[in-house]
Symmetry: C2
């Protein structure tokens, strides 16, 4: 799946992924009211509104981008109807040829991580057969529990030709609180995690890059440079572009000299474009998906300077 992702990035000249992290407040009022009229002011109504929002965004940008990254928390917040829409969104995006990165940040003891891995990347044996529960192409994984919390994801990814991105240095303001702690040997913890990612990745290679990748926030470009060197064969998923503060010109350090090695996520900057400058003057709520498309085009342009 890493090979498909890279092929699509090259074809579309777009090392970007659109984060489908919808909140109800992002959804134009006319869509919300339609959904509430059909399903009531319920979780079902909220999920129906999110589904229509996602579908129109995907339809508007699918020819421009290689991948989407639904953030499962936004769907879990709507309970079972929300998770049904998470699943439907993954299916729909895949039907358009998009790679789906499930931003699930799971991680647990070995047997439990295996259950998550099967649930999101694999197939569950039931009776004499196998069934796919959720079915993302990649998932994000939290490394706090160490190797035996991560390896089951790699094992299942290998079997089903999927991939993972392990959290190394996250984009949020307090990410340094634990991740930047200097450990024995004089490195920060996140570099130790990066070294593990490089090690895990070595044995799990696609054509040019490993299908074990890393998450490194756009908000820490100087760390990105060091981490790029430590993990030469691991793709880096870069959140924090746009709304969280990262900018295209800062992102060069995340890329290798081949122009590959990183994929930059934007969520609010794309899906809420119609609510914010510079798009809100030109696009109203009815044309929210046109605003998303314009924002994707601008993001691709902004990222040309880093390659």
């Amino acid at each position: 799946m890493i090979d498909k992702l890279i092929k699509e990035i090259k074809k579309k000249e777009a090392p970007i992924v659109v984060g489908l992290d919808p909140k109800l407040s992002y959804v134009p009022k006319h869509i919300r009211l339609d959904a509430y009229a059909a399903f009531g002011e319920t979780l079902e109504g909220a999920a129906a509104a999110i589904w229509r929002f996602n579908k129109e965004i995907i339809d508007a940008v699918e020819d421009l981008i290689p991948a989407v990254k639904p953030q499962i928390a936004m769907y879990e917040m709507l309970g079972l109807p929300g998770l049904e829409v998470f699943d439907r969104t993954c299916t729909y995006a895949q039907s358009k040829g998009l790679v789906v990165i499930g931003d699930i940040k799971r991680g647990d003891i070995g047997s439990t991580s295996e259950a998550y891995a099967i649930g999101h990347l694999g197939e569950k044996s039931v009776g004499d057969g196998y069934v796919a529960p959720f079915h993302e192409d990649f998932v994000t994984v939290n490394p706090y529990l160490g190797s035996d919390g991560v390896k089951p994801f790699i094992k299942v990814a290998k079997k089903h030709r999927k991939g993972i991105f392990v959290l190394v240095k996250t984009s949020n303001p307090s990410s340094g609180e634990f991740q930047d702690q200097i450990v024995e040997g004089g490195s920060p913890l996140y570099e130790l995690v990066a070294d593990k990612v490089a090690e895990w990745g070595q044995d799990h290679m696609g054509d040019d890059y490993s299908y074990v990748g890393a998450v490194v926030g756009a908000t820490y470009p100087e760390m990105g440079a060091a981490l790029r060197k430590r993990m030469p064969k691991n793709y880096i998923l870069v959140p924090g572009y746009g709304a969280q503060g990262g900018q295209g010109k800062d992102l060069k350090p995340f890329f290798n000299e081949d122009g590959l090695g990183a994929i930059v996520n934007s969520s609010r900057g794309i899906i809420c474009a119609y609510q914010n400058d510079p798009y809100c003057g030109k696009y109203g709520a009815v044309s929210f998906s046109d605003a998303a498309r314009a924002a994707v085009i601008d993001m691709i342009e902004d990222l040309k300077q880093v390659r």
Copy 2:
């Protein structure tokens, strides 16, 4: 909710929680076959089997225990039908007066952690009203992203009188890989996390203990002793008893002198008791819930020596 948990622990003289982490291989064949006959060899059939298994276990032990801890991964592995059974299990346990600890190990950047917190502990605003998505009483939280990934859980827990347990030192063999790294000041990382838990907990107190607790594995009793002192007012959720190797006599360090301060989880040791010594000789698959009850009684007895 921490006050209710402690009241129930005292009343039942049982500082224990039963982990509802069912895999299909734990479910007696007659239950699986019934479920497949009704729903096919599908995720729905698997989930139906798990539901009946959980319900019979809860019915068999609910008078003995204060709480259950469903591990959401085991339900996510069965997709949407599995998560429906997760929800139904929480509802059913709560209807029996049990406290429900959702073992979800979520944690993300602030706005995303807030979505998880609302999804599991809070209420979601939809239109003019509020709806509860999932509805555990406590959840477990992964601290790798730092304070701003944890505080939204505390905020929502405070509003809805719920609670959290933050991963400090997990029970798995490789937990030391990152958690035991010695950081500046000479302490291992998990102690730094513990100090944060103590700090967060101070401002969020029930009557005697904070509703911000910690997870510390039974498999590391000497660390448990040190952590007990660092977090005097934080309840410790102790996984790893029984199947993972921890034993009652080793657990004294996790408790305070008041006999409180810790709640010990057993999952496989209870729910699979009928498959293992010393119960398998006496109980067959048909009486699996009687075996679970016998295992709970033995666990309560085993833990009397630590109080």
